[in-house]
Every structure is written in C-alpha cells, then in structure tokens.
C-alpha cells in the first residue's frame, strides 16, 4: 500500500512536465486566432478575440491560468465542436478502450500458446511455422491486413460490418487487425523468454522431481517466462488506447487516435491538450499496473524499495 501511494506521488511531477510540454508545444504551432476567425476579419476583431482568450497575457500567466483550470478538469472549449474539450475526449475513450482490450485479448490468446509451443518444440517444423508466421505478421502493414479483412470477411462474405462501431460485430475486424500484429511480436518474445527459462537449473530440478512435463512447463517455466512479457503487454495496451490511427481510419473507428489527428490538423488546441493529457495518464496507469503485476509474479522484487 505504501508502495502504491509513493508511486502515485511520483506521478505528479511527470504530469506537470507533460502539461508544460503540451502547453508550450501547442503555442509554438501558430496563432490560434487566425485559425478561429475567417480571413476577412479585421485587426480589431482579432485583437478582441486575443484579449478575450487571454492570449495577450505574459506566457507564464497563461500557463498558470491554464493549469488552474486543468486541475478543475477544465481543458477549455473546443472551437470546432463548441463543447468542453475534455468531454469530447472522454466520449472517445470507451471506443478506444474497448478496441485496445479486445485486441490485447486476441493477441494473448494467440501468442501465449504459440510462444510456449514453439519454445518446447524448438527447431521442429511446428516451430518454423510459428516463427515464420510471426515474422509475416510483424512485416504485414496494418492497413493492408485491415483492408484484406474487409474485402474478404465484410465485402465478399458479409460476415462482419465493413466499418463503424456500436456492436460487437463491429469490433471483430479491427481487433483482429491490431491483435494479430501484437501477437506476432509477443509470440517471439514469449518464445525466447520461455527458451531461456527452460534451460535453467530450476527447470532441471523440477524435472528431476518427477513432475509431469505439462506442470514443468505451465507452472515452473511459464510464470518465470511471463515476467518480461508483462511489461511489454502493458506498454502495448497504453499505446493502443492512445490510438492506432491507421486501423481506426481504415475501419472508421471513433477512437482517440482519429480525434487527436483531426484536432492537430484543425489546431483545436484545447482538444489536443486534453487528449494528450488523458493519454499520458493512461500510459502512467498502465505502467503502474505492469509494475504491480511484475511484483506479483516475481517475489524477488520487494515493495519496500
């Protein structure tokens, strides 16, 4: 518990840094006033807007005003949607979250058994097939796989909808697209981690005790092999929630990635800042989860340190 609290305290400076970077980066990209007003606007109109947005204040005052609002959950209004920016971002969050989790589930279902199997059958035909397909999976561009899946499963056979969101059926194709790509990488990771563990002395001890090979592999080896994999999985999940622009675009999936790119193009500063903030918090949270899982899996890491 103390460890948990101290990790949360450590998060605060990180968030401050992020707010700092986000705030100034957006300011560097250009004048928001010229974007918000039509080209025919007079200088007086520009000046009035600048004044009302507080853009004439010294930059550190602007930052502090901004931070005071942010702490209260106010990231400002999106001028494209005329809604609070944070609402627009949070509206997209469930879609991103669902897609990320379902892709991770698919990836895990494929990668864990495949990784274990190719490790215990090392240098056999099965291993060759598995490592071969994971190279293929990694090399295959996401948009291509997505389009192929749409062409075959949605257009040709009409099993799943072509694009959009709302039902579980809508979730299937984008999840497979993302899930298989992650599975490809995870399989290789699990395989090599497993191979290392299987060669260790405690596995020989386990065998010398007369344990069944399934227990040796699934109990003694797997738990050790998963330790490095967990970190990668948590980071992947964070990246997925943060948005996978290409897949979201191919399937018109209303996720964070799409929103963020649109906001950047439109210089919708409030949304960019809110989205970046939320993504940063999610990355921090998933790191924290990875850390906790890591500690659960490996008793050698103590909570006190």
């Amino acid at each position: 518990m103390r460890y948990f609290l101290s990790s949360i305290l450590k998060v605060i400076p990180v968030l401050l840094m992020i707010s700092f970077i986000v705030f100034f980066l957006v300011r560097l990209t250009g004048d928001p006033v010229s974007l918000m007003l039509p080209e025919t606007a007079t200088d007086q109109q520009r000046e009035d807007l600048r004044q009302s947005l507080g853009l004439n204040d010294p930059i550190y005052i602007q930052y502090f005003t901004y931070m005071a609002d942010v702490i209260q959950g106010d990231f400002g209004e999106s001028f494209r949607y005329n809604q609070p920016a944070i609402d627009i971002v949070l509206e997209r969050l469930p879609a991103s979250f669902t897609l990320a989790i379902s892709s991770m589930i698919i990836a895990t279902i494929i990668a864990v058994p495949a990784g274990i199997y190719s490790a215990i059958k090392r240098n056999t035909f099965a291993d060759l097939i598995i490592t071969g397909s994971s190279v293929l999976g990694k090399a295959m561009p996401n948009f291509w796989l997505g389009i192929m899946l749409i062409l075959i499963l949605a257009v040709q056979f009409s099993i799943f909808p072509v694009s959009g969101s709302g039902t579980i059926a809508h979730l299937v194709l984008p999840s497979i697209t993302l899930g298989t790509a992650i599975a490809a990488e995870m399989t290789r990771l699990i395989r090599s981690s497993m191979l290392e563990v299987l060669g260790s002395e405690y596995i020989r001890t386990a065998r010398s005790k007369g344990l069944r090979e399934t227990i040796v592999v699934n109990k003694h080896a797997l738990r050790n092999a998963l330790i490095p994999v967990v970190t990668i999985m948590a980071l992947q999940t964070a990246t997925l929630i943060g948005g996978t622009l290409i897949t979201e675009t191919v399937f018109s999936w209303p996720g964070m990635g799409q929103l963020l790119v649109q906001a950047v193009n439109a210089r919708d500063m409030a949304v960019v800042q809110a989205a970046t903030f939320i993504i940063a918090i999610l990355v921090i949270l998933s790191n924290l989860t990875a850390d906790l899982t890591y500690r659960f899996l490996d008793p050698r890491i103590k909570y006190e340190d």
């Binding site: 260790s200 002395e201 405690y202 020989r204 001890t205 386990a206 065998r207 010398s208 005790k209 007369g210 344990l211 069944r212 003694h220 738990r223 050790n224 899996l297 490996d298 008793p299 050698r300």
Partner: protein, 335 residues
C-alpha cells in the same frame, strides 16, 4: 553376493549434430550398493555429470543413451517408458545439483516446491505434506522450518538453499541419491556441515549415494568407493583407502598430487600437464596418453581395457605395474 542397488554397464551416450557424432560418455560401468557412497571423480568434461543425468533419464537433448544398461535393483532404466521413468524420479532416485543459488524456482515458496514432490509420490493431502516438509527441513537442520516453508529461495543463504535441496531430494526416502558437486558453490565451513549432514542421513536412511565431485578432500571425507573418470570412461576404481594409499593409474596419481598437503614442501604441488580433450577430439589409443608421463608407443595405438589388478581394484592402463613405472619415471626426471 547380493544384487547391487545400481548397476551401470557399458553406458554410452552420444550427441548427434550436423558436425558429427560425439560420445562424451563411452562405456562407463560401475555399481552402487545400498547404503554405500560411491564418489565419481574427474576433471570438468570427463562425463561424470552426464552419467548421473542419464540415471534419471534427463540427458539434455540432442544427447541420448545409445548403448548399455542402467539397472536399479535389476530393472533396466534405459528401457522404461517416459511415464514409468517419471515415477522413479524424485521418488526412488533423486538428485542434488551443484548450483544451490539457481536450482530452486525463484517465484515459488520453499513449501510449494517441496510439497509438490511429496504430494506427487506419496499420496498425502495438503496438510500432511506440509507437516512432512517441516519435518524434513528440521531434519536437515534448518532453524524455524515453519517460517522457511513460507519463504522464497532468495530469502535464504546458499547453505540454507542447499539444505532445502537435500531435504527435497530425501523427502520421499529415495533408494539412490545422486549428489552432483553438492558443496562446490558453498563456503568451506558450510561444506563440512552439508557433508556431515549427507553422511548422517545416508546412514539413517540406508540410501545409496553417488557423489560427483572433483574435490578429493570431499572424497576422503565421505566416500566408500571411488570411480575415477577420464575422457568419458572409467580409468580406475577402488576402495577409497586404496585410491589414496595405492593409486595405480597415472591420472589418479596426477589428481592426488595436485592436492595441496599439510605436510611436505609447497613446491611439490603437482599439476597434470595439458587439458581434458573435448569429446570431438579424443585421442586414439589410451585417452590419457598425451598427458601421461609414462606413455609408451603402445598407449598411442592401443586402447587399454579396465582390468582388475588387485582384488576390487580396477584400472585402465597397460602398465600393470603402473605405480612402479611411474615412481621410476619420477625418479629419473627429478634426478
């Protein structure tokens, strides 16, 4: 004479690869009786560890036993099915490994790892097997066994972990215990404790022990009989006193003279010239001849057989009176 507990006959192990076949164990035979400690001695790479792993059927892939017999109370282990072999492991034959720091699984508690083997072989329920674990830990001299049961390996010292390994290996009262350099990784003071412990337990449980080591001090301490291995074969075998008082094979003599003694001058500490040949570059003839001080042309061409020169004293050397020739050679070179 009663049947030996373990009878290894002409054991040969090969590893096949694209570069060819190597035979790191090539015709090893020896016996272990009940309640007897047989030390298997030799330099690294002589095939002693591989021989012991083959008794458990755990020769690492792609290695395989391709000839010979390993009989445990008359039953040939090399002919057993995987399933039958598994039932013997940890039950009738158990093994202690040389790396106490890494031989226990870091992510499970001592209790978990020990009850596993007890539950497997002795049909005890959870509570009974934990009691058994506590009893075994107590037997090997671990203080506060109830607490250690809940601890992880990293919370114990090397000596304690090795005690845990011994407790685990003995928890199903094996007929045969294989100890592969059980004290190599430990401090000298702990070594003595562990050896005494093994000796005591062996006497109490009447277990046959194969002690694999290159430490002749350990051999003198605990062994009844000694098997000296070189280049994948047995080169000398005799009672422990015979080996120390009257070693015949030049290799055994070399090993003995490389042990520092309390008496005599320090300059006399001998070393065997050269190094152990790798299995793929085994010399023709007697495998020891390139390093042997008394090798003759015969040794270069012909491969000597293991012969009983004195009662219960076997050696693999053409020079039957190897001892005297060796002495003579030594006198000649020193004068």
């Amino acid at each position: 004479m009663t049947e030996p507990l373990l009878d290894i006959k002409n054991l040969r192990i090969r590893f096949r690869s694209d570069e060819g076949t190597v035979k790191p164990v090539n015709g090893v035979s020896f016996q272990v009786n009940e309640g007897e400690t047989v030390a298997v001695v030799g330099e690294s790479g002589c095939g002693k560890s591989l021989t012991s792993l083959s008794i458990l059927g755990l020769v690492p892939s792609p290695g395989e036993v391709f000839e010979g017999e390993i009989r445990l109370q008359g039953k040939d282990l090399t002919k057993l099915k995987k399933n039958q072999m598994r039932k013997l492991r940890g039950n009738e034959i158990s093994m202690i490994f040389q790396e106490p720091m890494t031989s226990l699984n870091p992510v499970f508690t001592i209790g978990n790892q020990m009850t596993e083997v007890i539950k497997l072989h002795q049909q005890l329920d959870k509570k009974e097997s934990i009691n058994k674990v506590v009893e075994m830990l107590d037997l090997v001299g671990i203080p506060e066994p109830e607490r250690v049961v809940r601890q992880f390996p990293h919370q114990l010292s090397g000596g304690m972990r090795q005690r845990v390994m011994i407790a685990m290996a003995l928890s199903c009262n094996p007929k045969l215990l294989i100890a592969d350099e059980p004290t190599t990784a430990l401090d000298v003071t702990i070594q003595a404790q562990i050896l005494n412990l093994m000796k005591k337990l062996k006497d109490e449980l009447n277990t046959g022990v194969i002690l694999i080591t290159h430490d002749l001090g350990v051999v003198a301490e605990v062994a009844d009989r000694v098997v000296v291995m070189y280049g994948g074969e047995v080169v000398e075998e005799a009672h422990v006193n015979e080996i120390f008082d009257n070693p015949v094979h030049p290799y055994t003599r070399g090993l003995l003279s490389s042990v520092p003694k309390m008496t005599g001058s320090v300059e006399e500490l001998g070393a065997i010239q050269g190094s152990v040949p790798t299995p793929s570059q085994m010399p023709k003839g007697c495998k020891f001849h390139p390093r042997c001080p008394i090798a003759t042309d015969l040794c270069k061409d012909e491969h000597p057989n293991l012969e009983e020169t004195l009662p219960n004293h076997f050696k693999r050397c053409f020079h039957m009176e190897g001892g005297s020739i060796y002495e003579q050679h030594k006198r000649e070179t020193t004068t």
